[in-house]
């Protein structure tokens, strides 16, 4: 019977060690799991701590030096003069322009991303979900420069967009918009509107994916419960879906906001000749050779993001985590 089988089973109750270095290591790691953790974390921590953060601090330290205006040499003495330079009207303009653009791009990305993420999280299954991921990720796989030049052609005066609007007899709409101050210009490809469109296009996946992940974690029955308790779909969105998706929206906005703050290629190819922070950093450390001012400009997005996260936390954006 069964019992007899068990008793005649020759396998010992405790198996011998597999021997050798591998066996000894396995046993050691089992007994001291923290040792394994240390071994695994050491290389990335060294990389992040020394190479990455270290060089960032070295750069930031430069912002407390100043440049000798006659010789163009860097004066390695502590001073806040470079930060003072940031507040010159021209530089302040650059900062304000960049922050406004980043805020608008973030807002637009969130508004466009939410329905897409909502559909993907709630309705898409199987093949449609795969198609969603492919659709969102595919633009990320192709070269960033190719995409921007493609947009330059699309938005140009001779481009497909103008042609399409002309066919639809909607050219007056485009011309009306382009005649507006600040957002307008000769054509979309040399206006802030063009810069804005391309920024939104390029960073949109970085908003969709975190929002989708956040919505995926919202149990479907919370939406039902809200509706059951008398909330209209609009009220359910405001009181349940939006607060629960907020950590995802904040995570996505960190990407869209900080990437827009730092980018110098898009505004250089598409838009007006007025500078953004990234372009200012690029020209200060390159042609102008003013490393301290370039470093001070780099501090601006870091400080802004710090305040942004602090504000988001104060508003309870992470309460649902």
């Amino acid at each position: 019977m069964t019992i007899a089988v068990v008793q005649s089973n020759p396998t010992p109750a405790i198996l011998p060690g597999s021997g050798g270095l591998r066996g000894a290591l396995s046993d050691l790691f089992w007994r001291r799991p923290k040792f394994l953790l240390l071994l695994m974390l050491l290389p990335p921590v060294l990389w992040l701590g020394i190479v990455y953060i270290g060089s960032l601090f070295a750069l930031l330290a430069q912002s407390f030096f100043s440049i000798d205006e006659f010789s163009g040499l860097i004066n390695r003495e502590f001073t806040l003069k470079t930060y003072g330079d940031l507040f010159q009207a021209a530089n302040l303009d650059i900062i304000l322009r960049t922050v406004t653009m980043a805020a608008l791009v973030t807002l637009a990305s969130a508004v466009i991303a939410f329905p897409i993420a909502y559909y993907a999280a709630r309705y898409a299954r199987g093949r449609w979900k795969a198609l969603f991921y492919l659709g969102v990720m595919l633009p990320l796989w192709s070269s960033y420069l190719v995409k921007i030049y493609a947009w330059k052609l699309i938005l140009a005066k001779e481009g497909i967009l103008t042609w399409l609007l002309a066919k639809l007899n909607l050219l007056w709409l485009l011309e009306g918009w382009l005649s507006l101050p600040i957002v307008g210009g000769n054509s979309l490809s040399v206006s802030f509107t063009g810069t804005f469109i391309v920024f939104v296009y390029v960073w949109l996946p970085f908003m969709i994916l975190p929002v989708q992940a956040a919505l995926e974690r919202v149990p479907g029955n919370l939406v039902e419960a809200s509706s059951d308790l008398g909330a209209s779909p609009g009220q359910t969105f405001r009181n349940v879906l939006f607060p629960l998706a907020l950590p995802g929206i904040v995570a996505g906005s960190i990407f869209t906001f900080s990437l827009t703050l730092g980018d110098y290629i898009i505004p250089q190819i598409i838009g007006t000749s007025r500078l953004f922070i990234g372009q200012a950093v690029y020209s200060q450390q390159g042609t102008a050779g003013n490393i301290p001012l370039a470093a001070a400009f780099t501090v601006v997005p870091i400080v802004i993001m710090g305040f942004y996260l602090w504000g988001a936390k104060r508003m309870g954006a992470f309460d649902a985590l």
């Binding site: 149990p219 029955n221 919370l222 039902e224 419960a225 809200s226 509706s227 059951d228 308790l229 008398g230 909330a231 209209s232 009220q235 009181n239 349940v240 607060p243 629960l244 309460d319 649902a320």
Partner: protein
């Protein structure tokens, strides 16, 4: 008097799956009604049809005389206690309970006062500032109950609300729900797969199988006089007796059911009764459940603890009162 809930030939088909199939149902106002059945039998879909989360593919539903098809959940004065409670994780307990009043536009002071009262009703006063994540399963269940009751619904729907609780807590909650329902006088519709729960709490029980209602009746009806083999077997695992067996004792060629507790087991080897062999014993505390083999027919008997029992494998004699043999409507 109008029924609280009335189903007329209601079906809900998902493609080729008939989750609910031509169900007729009348639930009286103020009644504690249980929907009992195995998983996939359509009881939860029926509940969701009342709540408005599902729409019938055919038939008509009315709630207190008013047609409910096409009416969204948020316009039904019906509230649900969900199986896993579905408390809002980003709101504290008090705001969870006050949610229904908040979306209806009740002022803050008034709704928080009502929520506090509802929490006292479910014996959780002072828990308002906690987050749902900080509560135990039993406490969350009470919050979900308070959140539904604070809206004073015409019908309260409970979807296996006690399923996740341990035995002791479940028994306490059964008593509390029952007395709460008596005090409030609200119609309760309670979905469960636990026949003990359905029998002990409900005024009437509907037994579901394969999207249809097999039998509706008082717990006693259902338990003592099942009309089909399915009901007899599902409610209290009755012994289902084949027509040939039943004919010997009742003279009628019909399916019969015999409750395990109606069977007496003796050591006698001869005399009147059914000769059987004891094949297994399960000790259940207050009672012992015996598995018996009567010439190929598998039977179960339940005897009180302390009864002296024959050993496994021994021959025994089974006797029962003719009255306790129930004949079922189901054709042989």
């Amino acid at each position: 008097m109008t029924s609280a809930v009335s189903f007329k030939k209601v079906s809900r088909h998902f493609g080729s799956v008939r989750a609910v199939d031509a169900v007729d149902l009348e639930i009286a106002a103020g009644e504690f009604f249980a929907m009992l059945g195995p998983s996939g039998s359509g009881k939860t879909t029926c509940l969701r049809l009342i709540a408005g989360f599902e729409q019938p593919t055919a038939g008509s539903i009315s709630i207190f005389g008013e047609r409910a098809e096409g009416v969204p959940p948020y316009r039904r004065n019906v509230n649900t206690v969900f199986q896993d409670y579905a408390l809002f994780p980003h709101l504290n307990v008090l705001d969870n309970v006050a949610y229904g009043l908040m979306v209806k536009g009740v002022g803050k002071a008034e709704r928080l006062k009502a929520a506090e009262e509802a929490l006292s009703l479910v014996r959780l006063p002072g828990y308002g500032t906690r987050r749902p994540g900080q509560l135990s399963g039993g406490q969350r269940q009470r919050v979900a109950l308070a959140r539904a009751l604070v809206n004073q619904p015409k019908v309260l729907l409970l979807d296996e609300p006690l399923g996740a609780l341990d035995l002791k807590l479940r028994e306490n909650m059964q008593e509390e729900l029952k007395s709460l329902q008596k005090v409030l006088g609200i119609t309760f519709v309670f979905v469960t797969h636990d026949q003990g729960e359905a029998l002990s709490m409900a005024d009437r029980v509907a037994v579901f199988n394969d999207g249809r209602i097999m039998q509706v009746g008082t717990p006693e009806d259902i338990y003592q006089r099942p009309n089909t083999r399915f009901v007899a077997d599902f409610v209290g695992s009755s012994n289902v007796l084949p027509p040939d067996f039943v004919q010997r004792y009742s003279g009628q060629h019909r399916w019969g059911s015999l409750r395990p507790e109606s069977i007496r087991v003796s050591n006698a080897t001869s005399g009147d009764g059914v000769a059987a062999r004891l094949v297994g014993t399960n000790y259940l505390g207050a009672t012992t459940r015996l598995a018996l083999d009567a010439d190929g027919l598998r039977l179960h008997a339940v005897v009180p603890a302390g009864t002296s029992l024959p050993a496994e494998g021994e021959a025994v004699m089974l006797t029962f009162n003719r009255d306790s043999l129930h004949l079922m409507d189901e054709p042989a």
